[in-house]
Symmetry: D3
């Protein structure tokens, strides 16, 4: 594809601090029609079991994303030169009724899928990923693979008695529903104290590959990236980037920080290593501005949104070619 019509504001004419804050200063659009990648916010955190605030994530990630420029210096990918990308705004999700909210999210993402665009969303807490996956699964008809950057496996069963839906359970539900193929799930950066020594037994029994931070620290990004490609192959894959995969010194603004995390440099190497995967959607979740410090977490989130966009734009452009 040549010469996409949707272009971000030209920073050589308009200073970065000026203008409406859209994702990476891309055009604001009312729908995903005509887009290859739809940047969309999901401002909802009703699944949060401890410190809420991710509902404010999309706005602050938009703010900090003004610092993004057009091209990736490492990969040479310039996403706005490859595909049509725009900011379709936020899904209108009410904060009071959890099940209704999940339906609203699924419906919003389904619209994007129907219009032929890939969703690249900004949460919101990690439970938002469940209805996103449902929508994509519905559109594509096959169980999806998953690359999950996270401090937590998020495969618990229930919380506070009998609550099935929290940000600690989305991937268990998605597996149970057939939305995800557990043997094509890889979780990277898992760490932190656990409720129980056997907390991850169910996940492992399903076939999920968990790469704890200690294993990652020994192997390094290149080796882990190879395993990701082996595991995911060419089938449709979703990438979910929970900001708490990053060390809290670099991403303090999140609900459940765990020390000893990935550095941004390591995570950049990992995400850039996803080039070549058949990425059909992605998200950045759990950026919680009320717990952020000077916007630093939102900047990390915005940068990984850009890194993911580069991977997705290249994947999409090849599909289109």
């Amino acid at each position: 594809m040549k010469n996409p019509v949707h272009q971000p504001v030209d920073a050589s004419l308009v200073p970065r601090f000026a203008g409406h804050a859209t994702f990476m200063r891309s055009p604001a659009k009312a729908s995903a029609a005509g887009l290859d990648v739809a940047l969309v916010g999901i401002p909802w955190d009703g699944g949060t079991t401890n410190r809420a605030g991710a509902r404010h994530g999309p706005r602050e990630v938009r703010n900090q994303s003004s610092l993004m420029r057009r091209a990736n210096h490492q990969s040479g990918i310039a996403p706005f030169d490859l595909v049509e990308v725009a900011d379709v705004g936020d899904l209108a999700v009410q904060p009071i009724d959890l099940l209704a909210a999940l339906a609203q999210i699924e419906q919003g993402i389904s619209s994007i899928c129907l219009e032929g665009a890939l969703p690249l969303s900004v949460g919101g807490d990690h439970l938002t990923t469940l209805p996103v996956l449902r929508a994509i699964h519905k559109a594509r008809g096959v169980p999806l693979g998953l690359v999950q950057f996270d401090a937590h496996s998020d495969t618990n069963d229930r919380y506070f008695g009998d609550n099935l839906y929290t940000h600690g359970t989305p991937f268990r539900r998605a597996i149970e529903e057939g939305v995800l193929d557990p043997r094509r799930i890889i979780q990277i950066g898992i760490r932190g104290s656990v409720y129980d020594v056997d907390e991850h037994a169910w996940a492992k029994a399903q076939g999920i590959r968990i790469i704890y931070i200690e294993e990652f620290a020994e192997r390094g990004p290149d080796d882990v990236v190879s395993e990701v490609h082996r595991l995911l192959g060419d089938a449709p894959a979703y990438v979910t980037f929970d900001i708490d995969c990053i060390d809290p010194s670099m991403a303090p603004g999140t609900g459940t920080p765990e020390i000893g995390g990935l550095t941004t440099r390591e995570a950049q190497a990992l995400v850039r290593g996803l080039r070549g995967l058949n990425v059909v959607g992605a998200d950045v979740v759990e950026v919680s501005p009320p717990f952020d410090v000077g916007g630093s977490t939102a900047l990390v989130g915005a940068t990984f949104l850009f890194e993911l966009l580069c991977v997705m734009a290249e994947a999409r452009s090849k599909t289109r070619a």
Copy 2:
């Protein structure tokens, strides 16, 4: 009553920054048995329509309440000399299921009532006051009067379609349920832009007395206090102190700040003016630490918890006498 057994930590022996943080350094108790006033936290904010965080209110109010001393220099009331007061901890309310949470709160406060203590709670968002009122109403069998310090009337009907229960609706629901007597409700400090010019029409039609901040500014605290006493009389009254009644410069840590509010000095004059009312319960709500600045809002909340305790302790000691 003489020589209550429950006493706060002696600051002349243990520095204020030392020891477990309980409300005003009072003893931690597992139940309200034997207490006159039960200090209790309700860490829940599931009714919040905009910026959440009041779930963290009890903990930070406890922290800042270490600065409280034993006696009120203005009224001369020393509550721990008058009645038995202790901190019975937080109600265990899960953050995921709204209706279940309201039931948990009502049950927790009912227990306190059954044990014969008056509840003095710290929220939590303003929807927590609804189940508290239900519990007290159930225990007493008569509709309650209400003195409400607030920037907002909180008598709206529904939000986001058909949601009946949010922190903008508790007093409408309480009136509908017969828990509150609308002709004995007075709201002080109301202000801020409104959704509709007629937004308060329903409330006024029920007989609620709204004292907007502009009226308050003209009349001053003494005159308003007189009206409160005329309106509330001797029948059981509940006092709810939404921290957003206070100007955001003094109480920034709240979900829906409105400029031009009460000063703390004005509010102290108002609360101290409640002496003589038949106060059967009270609360401080909407302290939202994630939006606070240096603990200042929690300190304001803690100080009004103390001011309310003075009023309640005196009222209770007279009842007991």
Copy 3:
């Protein structure tokens, strides 16, 4: 005028934290055509002599202005019911060349005037008001009156040798250029230490009426409002609201704070008192987010933007009637 077509997002459907941040959630428009009042940002602070940062003002005022609702509870004015109001974005002003920037601002406001809308802008430092006044003056052909809320007179001559244009000089320049009529200028809230005991001699000699904070404190808002109306009359008047008129405890995020300032409650009484003036433009300036605390100053700025909009919308609707 009935049923304006431009309406803000409906908060009963879309939560306040969701969606693109425009001024008061009004529609984003590419031009002022068809508007009565054009909300516009001027993100530039090149005239600042001490602490810069007001270039970031428009973005954060937009953010906090999500908290504004449709109607003014005190005056009953619902601006979006009276006139067409929208957010026309920010002027594209480069931060490097001061004289070029002033020209860019003047040109941008001239476009708005040519399209028939009244400009209601958000700065930027106070020097931005000079080119705004120039543009309005050019469009109207008569010297303008000025109601200035401010801690500083901003009528100095030169800074750092021979610099004529800083945020301390705009009104001297505007008088010299015939843009303002000095006998119809009133400055309210002036205070703070001065470079020289005679610092305001020039201003007074021109006929500018300076109401120092001490005089204001004695007289109160109602009396001062009367004087404003006597002085300004029916001729075209501009209202400039330098956020530093407000006490730094309520508006810390500004470049040159001076203690002992107006409270927001006092300032609301003053601005609401401007109803009936022939307001042809207005601004809120000197909100400096890097020095703000938790967005409180931006919230004050957003609220006064709304208060000014109410006054302007009423004035405009009468003109149109």
Copy 4:
């Protein structure tokens, strides 16, 4: 006196953010020789019973005092035109040994007195005022009067068993030592909960006049100022300004904040009302930067340092005349 040689940096040539931070940009001097008023820092907080940090007060007050200009717009006093004023640096007080520290402070202030200058110091916690008073008393040979702006009386006897010297006891010690004349002590702004209803009985028995905040609020500054003059008369008086007299919304950075305090506008009226007293020394204490918010408390402290300097400079210039 005409044409003092010590002058602050000229802000019309050097921006306020430039240059070494001295008090009000006055010259840094190694000693008080030749000075009328010696600005001096006392960075010590070893007497603090709760939250320390006032040791960092002098540095941050210096920082914020760059915002001060040459003249007082209300009184017309330009202190640097009247007398010789300079910054003699900080006393070198070690933070480990309390009694040794008190001796170091007394010695440092004695040197200033011996050189003929009046000390205007910045603390440090309120215990620093005790050795300052001792030094001035020693130099002058008569018990001093005291105008104390404060939330707390600071006339307690002992803390934590048998500790005689804390920031809660200085004025009791000073009275016992004959350094202060208790019948010429007036304390303004006292408030906050108390350890005991009779906590101030000793102070009142000595003849100290306590004006609680509630009395102040009723009478206003002018009436209180009159009483100050009646009480203090023409004999030597010391003025101590504990920053916690100011409301915590305006001065959060202090160790023992109490809500409902003086506004800065009220306090300015009070301090300006001290003109005509025979002020022989003054201080601003208890500014605690680690608990400050954006330097706001230090700015309040710096401004009152300037207000006190104006009063002292005028008093001194009359003495000299």
Copy 5:
């Protein structure tokens, strides 16, 4: 040992933000009787030579420790399944008299030792470790080994003239008193500019092994851990974790930060490597909340408290077996 009776609050029933804040939500106990490990706070910072605030450490570490769960995912240790652990509160140490404070701390820890529990304390500045070591030494009768994680050697002689006791001198004093065996002391992470090139000469002459950060960076944690075991052997060892060993980006809230420090990931590898040592006590010190950023340092402190608890619980359980 099986089925310890002391158990933390169950997070599957009570949300993490609810309830009184005790260390890791363990039960609050009045004494150490019946415990294997006593978690205890020492809120005192009278030995601090620069920026104080560590007196507030225990409270904030308790707050953040709510995020800890029951088991260590790396080692599989679940301390509450192995031994009896509870929070015995804070030692009541007054902040005014240094020598009296040291005696109070020693007495408090001696009580814990007498009751048969191992102390795991949270400071407080690093001088608190001296009386803790004295108490353990007295209880055990042999000089102790020491594993010290720190940016500073803390083996200086005197400060500010002749002060022997500051947070820069504890280990020199402990060696002089025979409390520590200098040949079994290893210090890891030492860095930062020094007062004198030969500053560590005394320490090295005593036989202390200093591993500067540069040496650590070259060797990595595994190799250093081996040396620790060689040096310490099976004899009783104390572990002191000064939070400033960690890089200030990860632990800003401390009095004397030094850049270029350990990452938390490195430090976790080091502390986990201590399994097998005969740990008879441990502490986390120098967490200074007034200088912290969003609680991040307290979270790091809480996590290392948990890591140390895992090591101690395993050691204790083997002793008991």
Copy 6:
């Protein structure tokens, strides 16, 4: 050289928080006469294209530099024992007129050069380095080499139309003017998204050696240091340390942060590796306190100022020998 007369304040007598804040507590001097290295502030940020604030850099770096001690524990260099070092204050640069400001800076540095001292400056934004280089070049008459630690190449041509001078262009201008020898320029740490994939083509065509962060991460500091020495040789070299070379988690207070940066530990290894170069001047720039968090960035800046001083002092002492 032996026994330099200029010495910093002795921290064993005066606590670090006491006294006027000069760079590393060195003596304040009115001129550079008699100095080997002149520490000088350049408080100007008029070249900043996005977030300003570096004008406040010198003051906060001075503040945090109080934490520096006399000697480098790694290299053993004690700069104040080797050469004469003092703080000559800030250049008086006005913030309004860009070209005039560049002239003021060049003149100020030229004075230092004329007096025979090496300038070690603290910015200010990166455009301040251009006039510094001009002044040194003028004094020495040969094109200089450059070691640049930075996230950005700063070799762009123009901004916002036709603006030649911004903080994104200094090294392009310096090469065009013959001030720098492009073949002896090495840039380390470059990263972040770019305006154009070919953004660095001009720089590379001139012969500039760019070491992107990815290359650095693979090679490590030692190997890169070797290349620096090969490239720079013995000819005069300038070292510019843009604080944004450091990861934003460690240095958040800067205008254009880019994640994935150098750690301070890596950067210390790099700067220490510069020993032996013929360093004729150096700077630390782009520390922007309004965007800093708790002074952490200023501390990083102060520490690298010290590291650079060590390298320069050694180089100078050898020249003198």
